[in-house]
Amino acid sequence: MAEFFAQYMPAWGAYLLTALISVALLLAVVGLGALFFIWAERKVAGRIQDRLGPTRTGGKFGWLQSLADGIKLITKEDLAPADADRLLFRLAPYVSLAPSYAALLALPFADGWVGWEINTSVFFLLAILGLEVFGVILAGYASGSKWSLFGGMRQAAQVVSYEVPLGMCGVIPVFLCGTMSLTTIGNMQAGWATNWLIFHDPFTFMVFWVYFTCAVASVNRAPFDLAEAESELVAGFHTEYSGLRWSFFFMAEYNSMFVVSGLAAVLFFGGWNGPVPIFASWKAAGGGWEIVADLAGCLNFIGKAVLGVMVMIWVRWTLPRLRIDQVITTCLKYCVPLAAFCFVGALAWQLASLPSPNDWLSPDPAGRAAVREPWVERAEDGAERSGTSGAEELARLAEDKR
């Protein structure tokens, strides 16, 4: 995109404009996502509890309820308790929101539609999602309140434990595809739904549910929301917060829910590749048709991610909260061994070349092998132009690197 703008303005302006457009689009995902998910949460909660939820604000369905709440929150007084560590207390909401937002940078919304194309995006996402807990811990410590401190401690223990099985679940699609690039993993699952990695073998089917459990725990949602635990800790780590600072924690939480669901969609559910390959021929046609196909893929991806968030909301209003020892037991005694078992099982399945449903049902079962990482594709293009072999070109690239 920077190259496109550079035709009309100086280079620095083009870079700045490109960066601003990406940042604004991703901020819109955070902001609008939070508005929609909070409204959806209240509607779903209402229906599950046999009431209506918000009905009046904005005419039908109360769809402006979150916006009205947001305006109310802006006008609230911004208080800090006398015992608080003022600086850290004020900074903590931003520390919570920043990693959650930064995670969106590396999350592809369609083939090539990603803020920052990096080759280790799975690892980057898992690393940066683990940082969000720091804001919660700081809030818990800096509030100068027992309830907050307990909430922060619980959250630290929980997140440090759940990072282990979450990482192990993320590794399985990585080694099935042989790449850590989310764009490549998504492209490898093109075609019919049988090509989705969740249907690759029984172990990947099993490990998705482990992933989902750990993802719910790592974004601090019920039944794992011990850091809030309003029945025992008032409101946990955000007891002392009010106004917009309070709402930043929730924007971070809803955005993280979207990110882990989006990650699940790319790793297990084909990302932007639908259950039925309607737009595959458009994608191949190139030009304007390709953009339309990518737009459809983007909507497809967002749909899958929103579906994941809806399941999390459904789970929250269905299951009771666990005790802290039960939370840690679930992680260490069930999730970690299950993830390890599935890891070994999927590895053995791949090594023994056992069949997957895609081999019989797909018209192009070997299609996955043809997908390359973006930098390898560019190296092969360069090799075609200069008439050398791909291996030589790779070696040349590695030489340049040094």
Partner: protein, 202 residues
Amino acid sequence: MLAAIDLHGFLFVLFALTACVFAAGVLFSSNIVRMAFNLVLSLGSSAGLFFLAGAEFVGAMQLMIYVGGTLVLLVFGVMLTAQHRFLEMRTNAGEWVLSLLVGGALLMVLLQAAFSVSQWNTPYAQRDQVEIDESKSATPIAAALTGVRVDKLEETNPRLRAGKSGYLMPFVIVSMHLLVVLVGAAYLARPRMAVRQMRRGG
């Protein structure tokens, strides 16, 4: 493309400055949690430097292990154990002198090493023609861990190419070390659990 503005240089100075400023913040604050917070920002900035250099794997590793792992555990430990007199650390003059000596010696060694690399010392002749190479996947690193150097295909010695120059040996040594540490930690935690069980039983 980047001729009009040295974007890379600007970002480098930005990240380097934040890393240094917050590192100084670690040094001059006396509250452990604030120190940890400064350290988060400092380490995060140095992760930014790694991303800028195209080493995304190392940068993400820095975020995951140091910021997301070690520092969270540090603050967790402080919250579990700290009374007020431990939270505020007062350092006396002797400690200052000793740490200045040790830190200054390390700084001297690093500076000497940095300035002895001739490529970093002299201005680059064709500055405009420098292209920032795009980053590679972690796949070559993973292949090298199993003993295959795909980035050393020009190696003529077939034995070296076939795995003698991979990272398998250091990797195994490091993982054995970690295993020993884990066993040690489990051993250290064991007696207390036994006592508790005995109490519960009796």
